[in-house]
């Protein structure tokens, strides 16, 4: 599809008799330049490309959505986060084993549902802001800081960043779980679920959650709720990842905690023609020649600008 985008852009240029830089310059001059983060300069260009694509009957690439089941709960000594691992492109599974539990800080992780790129980049941005803040304040990040940074950014973009997040972590004030919606609204709860499989997962939570659960019970409840999403929601599937963040500062990130959908048995079940597996020695070696490749070490002077 890259070739198709190039030809569309060329035809757009020919029509408008202007270069891409002129178009973006004209947009840039109207809007104040953003400091870091997202830039929406290409919205105009993308709309032009979409209109051209409609005329020439070509298919544009789609943003990958994480169908998703993500959950978080508070237990006696911390929080447990859980997520499935399926990333979908409409009805196709784009990635069977993607990571939806994103690192924010040593004491905080964030599960993301919605557009995969949006959740990934938003959490990365806030994670770097938190790291800079830790350097400036010489103290561990608080969950409410990440929560506020995330909700302000999402509200600023009025829902165009499609990221629904379950934020969980432990700080000086105790264990916390927050839910953050794409439009910027938030809630603080003892247990929460989000994503297309949230209804299935919430039914398990509502039946099983109690205050001050032990760690093994809490992790088992999270596993059951994610599996409820995996098996009952078409947008969720494959494996269950869990992440336990404890008040004492330790974190147990279990990638592939439960893998009820192994792919290898399916692959093994496909019978290949024996002609496709070629054993070593099938092609006769007529002659062998070894030649040394000359390598010279050169001294390079680094000149300071």
């Amino acid at each position: 599809w890259k070739g198709k985008i190039k030809t569309l852009v060329k035809s757009y240029n020919k029509i408008n008799n202007s270069t891409m830089s002129e178009v973006t310059e004209s947009i840039k001059s109207n809007e104040p330049s953003a400091v870091g983060g997202f830039s929406f300069d290409n919205v105009h260009r993308n709309r032009m490309i979409e209109n051209l694509a409609k005329d020439s009957n070509s298919v544009l690439p789609q943003a990958t959505k994480t169908g998703t089941t993500i959950v978080g709960l508070v237990y006696k000594d911390g929080v447990v986060l859980g997520a499935d691992t399926r990333a979908t492109n409409d009805t196709e599974v784009a990635e069977k084993n993607c990571e939806k539990i994103h690192y924010l800080a040593p004491n905080m992780y964030c599960c993301g549902a919605g557009t995969a790129a949006d959740t990934e980049m938003t959490t990365k941005m806030i994670s770097s802001q938190l790291e800079l803040l830790r350097m400036n304040t010489h103290s561990p990040s608080r969950v409410v800081t990440a929560f506020t940074l995330l909700k302000r950014k999402l509200f600023q973009y009025q829902g165009h960043i499609s990221a629904a997040l379950v934020l969980g972590g432990c700080d000086i004030n105790g264990p916390h779980v927050y839910q953050i919606y794409p439009h910027g609204s938030t809630g603080k709860l003892p247990y929460t679920t989000m994503g297309s499989g949230s209804l299935a997962a919430m039914s398990v939570f509502e039946q099983g959650w109690r205050e001050n659960m032990a760690e093994n019970e809490a992790v088992e409840l999270v596993r059951r709720s994610i599996l409820a999403g995996v098996f009952n929601d078409l947008g969720s599937g494959s494996n269950c990842d869990t992440c336990v963040i404890r008040m004492d500062g330790t974190v147990a990130y279990n990638r592939g905690d439960v893998t009820p959908n192994p792919v290898q048995p399916l692959r093994d079940g496909i019978s290949h023609s024996s002609k496709l597996s070629i054993s070593a020695g099938t092609t006769p070696i007529l002659s062998t020649k070894h030649q040394r490749f000359p390598v010279t070490l050169a001294d390079v002077d680094v000149v300071e600008a």
Binding site: E31, F40, V43, H44, K151, L154, F155, Y157, Q158, G159, H160, Q179, Y181, P182, H183, G184, S185, T186, G187, L189, S198, L199
Partner: protein
């Protein structure tokens, strides 16, 4: 950032697709020496309840609270802005802020941004100058000081009840009982209201936060 240009004559700004709404019933009644605020706790996205125990009574100053209804994101952001402006103001003036000032700050934000917001709020509080006051700020940014205020989608079902039961110069306990009764009735009839009833009694001496669980409401469907 380019945005979709709406029809300028379309005043009814609806919730965007997937946006979270505080469906809601909110209420506030002033009494001699303070004010009682009450709200349900249901937050919905479409027909799914995103949060069944949310807190819609936000504190913006020591003795001033805001009941939120409409878009959850918009009202949370508005509350944060007003809280910030009020704290700056109280540092600059050296006094606790007046409820009238808080209400007018809220009204200014709601009115100036009426095309992009969907927020109906009730500002209620106590200050040493005018005592307990309640200001109703519905969609669009009108401000009205009232002897009692109700708002949100569930309020339409209890206008008659509140008009008949309200009396001037009620005590704090009577006001609180009326708030709980009215909100229970609204929760019984409005699908977007439910959960628990949260109440806050604001007085000079201090505030009293309380909640009534959903199965102990003064009025509810038979069989609870």
């Amino acid at each position: 950032m380019t945005s979709v240009i709406n029809n300028p004559l379309d005043y009814s700004s609806k919730l965007k697709k997937g946006e979270v709404s505080t469906g809601t019933t909110i209420m506030a009644i002033p009494f001699d020496g303070g004010v009682v605020l009450g709200a349900d706790s249901r937050v919905s996205t479409g027909v799914y309840i995103a949060n069944r125990v949310s807190d819609k009574i936000a504190q913006i100053s020591e003795h001033i609270f805001v009941c939120r209804s409409g878009s959850a994101a918009d009202t949370q952001a508005l509350t944060d802005y007003v809280k910030y402006y009020l704290s700056q103001l109280s540092i600059e003036t050296g006094r606790p802020p007046l409820v009238k000032v808080a209400a007018h700050l809220m009204r200014q934000l709601c009115y100036e941004n009426k095309n992009n917001l969907m927020a109906g709020v009730i500002v209620g509080g106590w200050d040493p100058v005018h005592g307990g006051q309640v200001y109703n700020i519905p969609l669009g940014g009108t401000i009205m000081q009232m002897p009692f205020a109700i708002g949100g989608s569930g309020s339409t079902y209890i206008y008659g009840l509140v008009d008949a039961s309200f009396q001037e110069n009620m005590s704090a306990e009577d006001a609180r009982a009326l708030v709980k009764k009215a909100i229970s009735h609204a929760m019984a009839r409005d699908g977007s209201s439910g959960g628990i009833i949260r109440t806050v009694v604001v007085r000079a001496e201090g505030n009293d936060r309380d909640y009534t669980p959903g199965n102990q409401l003064p009025y509810g469907p038979a069989g609870w």
